[in-house]
């Protein structure tokens, strides 16, 4: 998109790539600027829209956290620089109020998960890359695709606007546990409305993804020849499709509780601030939790699966060999998706569970760790025997492995109910999931950005800035999140406005708060090279060949960079082999793209 006009760029076949030069558009009618860039139905434009929007939300969500971390490191001290801008109902004299701290926390969680990572991983990467990888001309329902983006955008704006309401944004945590959320300020209502938009957007998107993958795969591209990235998107879409509606239902019920005075989540006999409530009662606070986690557990695999997909592509490409155990990781991913629906109550061990139910959920939780271990193991083994190139995307993808490892492993003690007695709702949990979502998923997403950037813009991002970004991020992410385990094991609760300063048991680990905060700010600084790189390279980056990474999948090998504006391919490719035919013995190049027809059996990948 960067050079503005891509629709006429001719195909240049390189290597064993596409050799045809046929321009397939018979009559090319010019679209207005609005139709082409704003209300576009082209999956590539929509993917870019998703990408930019979600990156901005990520940055915003991170900014909220950088502000919070000031209060955690220096409780009660005026926030420097921006403190005076926040206004008296958020931070009088620059000193943050507890109300505002809770808003920041809830909105950080919400924005990072629903407006940042998922739209980036699914909306941007899924939209842009998946149709290219399966040789489709576009998504199955382009108009729905456009709607999906704009509904997401509306939901995002709704969330942002809620900061300016009386009482501010939602402040009951991203989990919005009732009854706290039911008696909360009006921001919660807007949060619920925003969520309904986001859920609708996800539903539209997931239907579109599944239909596209099932129906628009090009000739010869059987399911077992799909790049793992496509599989990841496929499973993810099913999770979104089937797990989100219960949260939508729960959101509607909570809206009713807040607006129509019903008591779905409100038991009888509540006294709030000394005043007895007059609602009819008879509801169940735990019902909300069940419905919420029925979504939110599958949701965490929505955060991780696309990341694994990206990592698989990049590892295969940069080791120059096939992913080890392709079949086993595909089955593991499908199994993971399936199991993710039966572990939800491991977030609720402390709500008063009996033995039977807790045993059930502990067992499923232990079972669900197995497919993750299988996938990770396959990735590690894929490195063995490779010819590893430490390109910028590869650095990020490699870092993903141990970082996800730490996050995943720390899930194990949480998944057993007895240790969870001590660890539940402490910083240990915060550490656990940030290792999977931040040093894990975020690293993978960065890897994806560096990897597909040349495909999107025709130019490469700077490696010097990339390495700066990598090492800064890697070091400071660990600086932020590692001490959380220390605090958590000491028993420090999460969501504490003063970081635990009042508690005796927190005193011995309190000094880590400052370390974490400084790391978080340095992490912020470490993003500057990335932001510069991102914009600068679009105009000034080194121009590279169409299949710059010498990859085998259709997205890289069978398209121009950037791909044609209409129709993606000069001629829709046909597929002859699996996705990762690198270093095939006896072949002339160390990669054979999926769509290239070759003479010898060897190169057809049939010797196996």
């Amino acid at each position: 998109m960067a050079d503005g006009h891509i629709s006429h760029k001719q195909v240049e076949g390189i290597g064993v790539g596409v050799q045809t030069h046929v321009h397939h558009e018979e009559h090319h009618h010019e679209l207005s600027f609005l139709r082409q860039y704003v209300f576009s139905t082209d999956h590539k434009v929509i993917g870019i829209q998703y990408g930019i929007t979600s990156l901005l939300f990520l940055l915003f969500g991170f900014t909220l956290m950088m502000i919070m971390r000031w209060q955690l490191a220096y409780p009660g001290e005026a926030i420097p620089l921006i403190g005076q801008w926040l206004g008296p109902d958020r931070a009088p004299d620059g000193i943050m109020l507890p109300e505002f701290y809770n808003q920041l926390g809830a909105m950080h969680g919400t924005i990072m998960v629903f407006l940042g990572v998922v739209p980036l991983a699914v909306g941007a990467f899924g939209n842009y890359v998946m149709p290219l990888q399966i040789g489709a001309v576009d998504m199955a329902f382009p108009k729905l695709n456009m709607m999906s983006y704009w509904v997401y955008f509306t939901g995002g704006v709704t969330m942002l606007v809620s900061f300016f309401l009386p009482g501010g944004a939602a402040n009951s945590g991203w989990t919005s546990y009732a009854p706290l959320s039911v008696i909360a300020t009006v921001g919660q209502t807007v949060w619920l409305i925003g969520m309904v938009f986001l859920i609708t957007s996800s539903l539209l998107g997931s239907v579109n993804f599944i239909v596209t993958i099932v129906q628009l795969r090009t000739n010869g591209l059987t399911f077992m020849r799909l790049p793992f990235f496509v599989w990841a998107q496929f499973v993810t879409s099913f999770l979104l499709l089937l797990a989100f509606p219960p949260l939508e239902a729960a959101g509607v019920l909570q809206l009713m509780d807040r607006i129509a005075g019903t008591s779905f989540f409100m038991p009888s006999g509540l006294v709030v601030s000394g005043v007895p409530l007059t609602n009819a009662g008879g509801g169940s606070p735990l019902l909300w939790q069940h419905l919420f986690w029925f979504l939110a557990h599958p949701e965490v695999y929505v955060l991780i699966l696309p990341a694994m997909g990206i990592v698989a592509e990049i590892i295969a490409n940069n080791t120059r060999k096939p992913i080890w155990g392709y079949k086993s990781i595909v089955f593991a991913a499908v199994f993971l998706g399936f199991m993710s629906f039966v572990v939800w109550a491991h977030h609720m061990f402390m709500t008063g569970m009996g033995t039977v139910i807790s045993t059930f959920f502990q067992t499923t939780t232990m079972i669900i760790s197995i497919p993750s271990i299988i996938i990770l193991t396959a990735f590690f083994l894929s490195l063995w025997g490779g010819s590893i190139r430490f390109t910028t995307p590869m650095l990020f993808a490699l870092a993903f492995l141990p970082m996800f490892g730490i996050g995943g492993l720390t899930g194990l003690p949480l998944g057993l109910s007895a240790p969870d007695i001590h660890l539940h709702d402490t910083y240990y949990v915060i550490g656990h999931f940030h290792y999977v979502v931040a040093p894990g998923t975020l690293m993978a997403l960065f890897a994806g950005i560096y990897y597909w950037y040349p495909k999107v813009t025709g130019r490469k991002m700077s490696d010097v800035l990339g390495r700066l970004h990598f090492w800064g991020s890697f070091i400071f992410l660990n600086g932020v999140f590692m001490p959380m385990f220390i605090q958590g094991l000491a028993g420090v609760s999460r969501r504490l406005y003063d970081g635990g300063a009042q508690y005796a048991h927190a005193q011995s680990v309190l000094q880590w708060n400052e370390v974490m905060s400084v790391s978080a700010w340095c992490l912020g600084l470490a993003q500057i090279p990335f932001i510069i790189n991102f914009f600068w390279s679009a105009k000034k980056g080194e121009k590279v060949a169409d299949n710059h990474w010498e990859a085998t999948t259709l997205d890289m090998a069978a398209t121009t960079s950037p791909p044609l504006a209409h129709g993606n391919f000069a001629r829709v490719p046909e597929v002859h082999r699996g996705p990762y035919e690198y270093s095939v013995p006896g072949a002339t190049t160390d990669f054979i793209p999926q769509h290239v027809r070759t003479e010898s059996n060897v190169e057809r990948g049939e010797h196996r």
Partner: protein, 101 residues
């Protein structure tokens, strides 16, 4: 579907009428039974059984599920599994009461 002949369609139309009559009949039955005020267990069983039959008729004939493609069956089978899980949800929430003092 696009290969279906006109005669097939007329046959289908006759089927639709039969199904329509059956649905009406079942509606009357279920309402009539409710006036008997059976005990709760039997009432629930009966009402849900009738509703399930009616729903199956609609799904099978109006929605042509009786002659659908494999992939649709797979999608629905998956959904049924998760739907059942959702129905288990109240049970897992209820178990908590074993600890209530």
């Amino acid at each position: 579907m696009e290969t279906a002949h006109a005669e097939d369609i007329t046959k289908s139309v006759r089927k639709y009428i039969v199904v329509f009559v059956a649905l009406m009949g079942l509606t009357i039955v279920t309402v009539a039974i409710s006036y008997l005020h059976l005990n709760v267990g039997a009432a629930i069983l009966f009402a849900l059984a009738v509703a399930t039959v009616k729903a199956s008729l609609v799904a099978s004939y109006f929605m042509h599920l009786i002659s659908e493609r494999k992939i649709v069956y797979w999608t629905l089978a998956l959904t049924v599994v998760f739907f059942l899980l959702l129905m288990l949800l109240p049970i897992s929430a209820d178990q908590d009461s074993t600890r209530l003092g």
